[in-house]
Symmetry: C2
Subunit: 754 residues, 2 copies
């Protein structure tokens, strides 16, 4: 009986698969989406038929539709507002035009799905008002952008508008008369597309998330208007245009260093073969939407381009990478300029998940994320997801340790994520990360169940909160957030990596030494940085180790610094919460002074000072009712500084977060070895503290040579574990034999642990 059912299920699955593949190859769609047919961008004529046929029986789609309908009905009720542009982000006219682009797109979809003319009329009426307005508009009155828009203060937002509004236009295309279409295209869409491209080459003609939006905007309206010239301008950039390769944008990024431009170049360059986006997950999320909706449109209208197979399918791979760059709560790791709290609940990720499911391999894990998102796109891909969920195909999306290479060919370092039970470590050994990169070579952040244990500061900006610098980057982003001392890595001689210079940082990247997640008890990654400080090499090996003698997996960190001269090294731990205990004496400051006067040091107040212990220093803290202990090897010449962010912050733009900084003077070579344990808990309800003490009794380097570093970790039960990491030949195949304290160790591979 069971077998019979299984066979039936198999047959059904095969049939489904065929039908899915059929859909995905879009043969049907091509025939229908001849150049004249509409809609064709994210909805197709056949898709609309399918959706209408299923309506009422696909809960997540029906609910998403209902929510959008209620939202748009209320907007229609409230009436159209198309104000004269005036404000920066967060201001009224900005917010209104931004709202309008969403409203137009959604109203267009409603027209197609519900076949109710009131939505088409609403879209038409608003578009006509935009047509009226746009032809009168000079450049936007606010002057802060390197590329001013007309509706918005920056071309970027104008492009956002067009990416959405071209979808609305597509949906009501057949509803309009030819005369109406001519009017809109002549006075609104074409000049609009020209302004963000030909008139703004510094914005459009480059490889950057900004230009991705620009390319997609031009391309999508081109697809709707069936305008090959615009489509080509989108795909390949503005023809025969060469820009100054030295010019820079607002953020300090080169405008166009190597002359590459257009949508395809924007896929080619920033994505590694693993799908890692060079600016990091926060900007990948932002760029994802135009990448994917334009790709959808290209897939439907120009299937011969095989856009989803471009660069070995990197667009879909990048979605998987992006989902893996989130913590247990779905929040993206704030690498580079990243605002905390951005997560896969963002609408761009609804697009990403649905598109990835529909145009990819129908990964059932994506369905569970779609369920958490609790909404789907109102298009062909949203329908596919809704049907998958309805048919009970969802499975958990399991995030494991993963190593993501950086660079167009995957050869410019990367990001390693170590996951072990509830602990997550994010280790960054990537390239500069374009203009949004930070000077944070070999830095890391550490999480427990989605809560930050050791934080990455993220960006210094209140996105879209107008009162805080117009919602734009604050100057502390540069003076603090990007600086090395703001990160959990080594700062040499109070100077940031690459002396904080983008031009230099952009030339270099760290190198993967090894990554290994085969042993479920030892998740480990190792990488090397040789350029951040000329003459100094940093080899950092980080592991998250599960050992039965410790309550939770602990972090082991071996940072081997080798230099050709004597330096000062500062090594911070950006913890959160209250200090519980130290094994060293400290003195708190009566008056708080900044730690330095530049390179981020000017933003740190010194709250306390200590001489480190001669063997290892221990520091315990409590945050969110959990205990943590850092144990780090020190000698009696080392200093420990208790710092707090917030000095020289005249607008209170920075969070007052603490750090413990290990400082060593007069060091040439130094191997920093640290363990961070997460342990125990406190309940303010029962007022009981459980396992509030470290389980680590002793931490020791027992060998440290050019080729090997060996660390012994002894717990309170007097069990000792040994980790030996190969510092030079660390390939999987390498065979090692070494003698430590008279004992022979033989193994093959990158590291030894026992």
């Amino acid at each position: 009986m069971k077998n019979k059912i299984s066979i039936l299920v198999l047959i059904f699955a095969l049939l489904m698969n065929i039908s899915c593949n059929k859909k995905a190859t879009s043969d049907d769609l091509v025939s229908q989406n001849s150049k004249g047919s509409h809609p064709k961008l994210i909805l197709t004529a056949q898709g609309v038929k399918n959706i209408r046929a299923q309506l009422g029986s696909i809960p997540i789609f029906d609910n998403s539709l209902q929510a959008v309908k209620e939202e748009i009905d209320a907007e229609i009720e409230a009436g159209i507002e198309v104000p004269i542009p005036k404000d920066y982000s967060g201001g009224y006219t900005h917010s209104r035009h931004k709202r309008n682009w969403f409203v137009l797109q959604k109203a267009g979809l409603l027209y197609q799905i519900l076949d109710d003319e009131k939505y088409a009329k609403y879209v038409k009426d608003m578009l006509m008002q935009y047509e009226e307005l746009y032809k009168t508009l000079p450049l936007h009155p606010k002057t802060r952008s390197y590329a001013r828009g007309k509706l918005f203060w920056q071309c970027l937002n104008d492009s956002n508008w067009l990416v959405y509004v071209s979808q609305a236009y597509d949906c009501i295309y057949n509803y309009l008369t030819e005369e109406e279409r001519n009017k809109l295209e002549t006075n609104l869409f074409r000049p609009f597309a020209d302004h963000i491209s030909i008139d703004s080459p510094q914005f459009y003609q480059r490889v950057h998330n900004h230009s991705t939006w620009g390319n997609a905007a031009v391309g999508m309206i081109g697809l709707v208007m069936d305008d090959e010239e615009l489509i080509n301008r989108a795909l390949y950039g503005i023809k025969d245009l060469n820009l100054d390769t030295k010019a820079k944008d607002d953020d300090g990024g080169f405008l166009n260093k190597d002359g590459k431009a257009g949508f395809l170049a924007n896929i080619e360059e920033p994505f590694s073969p693993d799908g890692y986006y060079n600016e990091g997950p926060y900007y990948q999320r932002y760029a994802m939407y135009p990448f994917l909706v334009f790709a959808e449109g290209l897939h439907n209208v120009k299937p011969e381009l095989k856009i989803f197979e471009y660069k070995e399918g990197v667009l879909l791979k990048s979605i998987n990478a992006l989902l893996n760059l989130s913590d247990a709560d779905g929040d993206f790791f704030p690498l580079n300029d990243g605002q905390k709290g951005m997560s896969y609940y963002n609408s761009a990720l609804v697009t990403a998940v649905d598109v990835s499911y529909h145009f990819g391999e129908q990964d059932p894990g994506l369905l569970s994320i779609a369920k958490e998102q609790n909404q789907v796109l109102l298009d062909d891909s949203g329908l596919a997801v809704a049907l998958g969920i309805k048919n009970g195909e969802a499975k958990p999306f399991t995030k494991k340790s993963i190593n993501l290479s950086d660079g167009p060919e995957g050869k410019q370092g990367g990001v390693g994520i170590l996951r072990n039970e509830d602990m997550e470590l994010v280790f960054k050994y990537a390239a500069q990360g374009s203009s949004h990169g930070h000077y944070d070579k070999l830095s890391y952040s550490f999480y427990e169940k989605g809560e930050e244990v050791i934080q990455d500061y993220g960006l210094a900006r209140f996105v879209n909160i107008e009162q805080k610098g117009g919602g734009n980057y604050l100057k502390e982003n540069k003076t603090w957030a990007k600086q090395t001392i703001a990160h959990n890595t080594v700062t040499q001689n109070e100077t940031s990596h690459f002396t904080g210079k983008y031009d230099i940082g952009s030339l270099h990247h760290s190198e993967l030494h090894y990554f290994s997640s085969d042993n479920e008890h030892v998740q480990i990654v190792s990488a090397k940085e040789s350029n951040a400080y000329p003459g100094t090499t940093m080899l950092r090996t980080m592991a998250v180790i599960k050992d039965a003698d410790f309550e939770k997996p602990y972090m082991l960190d071996i940072m081997k610094v080798t230099s050709n001269k004597i330096n000062q090294y500062d090594f911070p731990y950006y913890y959160f919460g209250q200090i519980i205990q130290t094994n060293f004496e400290y003195k708190t400051s009566e008056i708080l002074k900044p730690l330095g006067n530049k390179n981020g040091y000017q933003h740190l107040f010194v709250e306390g000072l200590a001489d480190a212990k001669s063997e290892s220093s221990k520091f315990s803290w409590m945050n969110n009712n959990k205990f943590y202990t850092l144990t780090t090897l020190t000698n009696s010449n080392d200093e420990l500084l208790f710092t707090r962010i917030g000095a020289n912050d005249p607008q209170f733009n920075l969070r007052r977060d603490p750090a413990l900084i290990l400082r060593t003077n007069n060091s040439k070579n130094r191997t920093f070895v640290s363990v961070i344990e997460a342990h125990g808990s406190y309940s303010p309800v029962s007022e009981s503290a459980v396992n509030s003490n470290s389980s680590l009794k002793d931490l020791k380097i027992i060998l440290d040579t050019m080729d090997y570093t060996a660390v012994a970790i002894t717990n309170l039960n007097d069990n000792t574990k040994l980790l030996i990491t190969a510092n030079t030949n660390a390939s999987k195949e390498a065979k090692h034999t070494i003698k430590i304290n008279g004992k022979n160790y033989e193994w093959s591979g990158s590291y030894y642990f026992e």
Copy 2:
């Protein structure tokens, strides 16, 4: 049809009521609980029968039983440990003996309910080990307490032990031989009871939560042992003992100022007729358990005492008061010494809710809290609750605005809680609050959906976290947490109320001026303090007002200070989060220095300074993705200080929380008028800021005399509301006629709002 059902429901309800009343009057129980019968404290012989009959059909009880069974089975498996006493709170021997008392009590219940001898044997074996140990014990080796115990460093914990263990003894009483009972009573229970009472009168013979535990401990073992002398010692204190009325305990409280003692005095004195406990909710929660379990025992064994009717039923009223002293999440307001996070999920509140339901009037609101608690007591009252829930009788427990008087006769001020939609304001105008009181006359805290908007600092202590001062009160509790400047009220001339002296503070209390919650739009309370600063009177009127022109109810605060001399007034706002905007210029400090050198000022760093605006100063901040704006009337001589807690804190015992302090120099009379608006929200996922600006356009005093203060509040729509508060004759019946700016206002009652 509907009427018929209603009648049936009514009849059913009456029947239920009769049967419940029958249970509550406990006629059955009395007959069974003759002096010799066991169990009789919180379980009765009849109760055990009833429970056994219902087992398996009362889900919340069954689940609670299962959880306890698993816990105790694991303990039995692990074996008995009765270590020689050595540690302070949080240390091993402390934690183990504490664990044992819970385990013994639960094992006793399991024996009764499951009728499985293994539990009785386990209790017996452990009690015998205690008997062995106890007779050898000197005073506990740790010397910090004013009343050292034997098992624990303080008698208080010894008393905790006995309160629980007497229940265990009660449960296995009949299981033991007379010889075994004699051994235990002679060598363990009687000397134990004597040590915490006769040998420790400074602990036992007073009115304080400590002695409540002591009284209950002595009384409960007395009930089990059927020892009238112990029972009387519990109820009335140690006979013929007079203590030094000037002596003080560890916390600075008088040991026994007026000679009162015993359980009844401990009910009489600290509870007001409304059930407010003078030390505040945190300590009420702590004292609640011995109050109620001893009361249960007395109810069962000595029904003639009518303990639940004592002082007009104050014990049950106090449970209602306590539940009302919690925020939307069930966390108690941290008035006086209160640790944040303590909530009605604490096990003492499971007792309180179940007892209140069973012995009170079967309030169906209590059932909904019991459901949230997700457990019940394994006794007669827990059964009653479980049956109530099973029968679907639970209704929401709705918290409304409430005024709770303080003082044995309700004449020593009180606490007013204003609730309006999601906003809650807690206004404290109580008496000193015994040794756990703070110098915080007319202070308040403000909440939105259970999150602190304007915080009360609470205590400076990490309860039971041994690494932080043994888990005991830290010295910063006195130097910071109790001081006036740590609270949201006025500090005059940088000196705390009553010059921070407990002896003086204890003589006085604030006076209610009026409280009114009749108008659902205007929840308002007003109180007066004349003794905190001799020669100065503070009349504070606080309202939470719902006005359609504001998104959420706003707080209006009128603090009228009248003095016979010129003073400096400091008025802090302990907000949380990031500063978003001010309407005044400020200068941040390059170097942070303490604001003063005593009375709490030594703990505040000055982060910034500003001259206030000439009419009103505005300050907006964001916390937990919500916006808040303070608008406060100022003149150009006022200063605004940005401060942060943490100066002179050599052990990092204090949280680094910010405040804005309004400082006015050379003021004699000053009426501070402020509005705090909660508005809007920010989503880091959609990156949109909604309603991030204040809706308040103008705030003005338009009249301020001895008799009246009138404030005009104008919003952005130019609608003006007027609040006139009567400063003198504010009775409900009072009739008022005044002319302001040529317009006549006539009303009766405490205030006018329109």
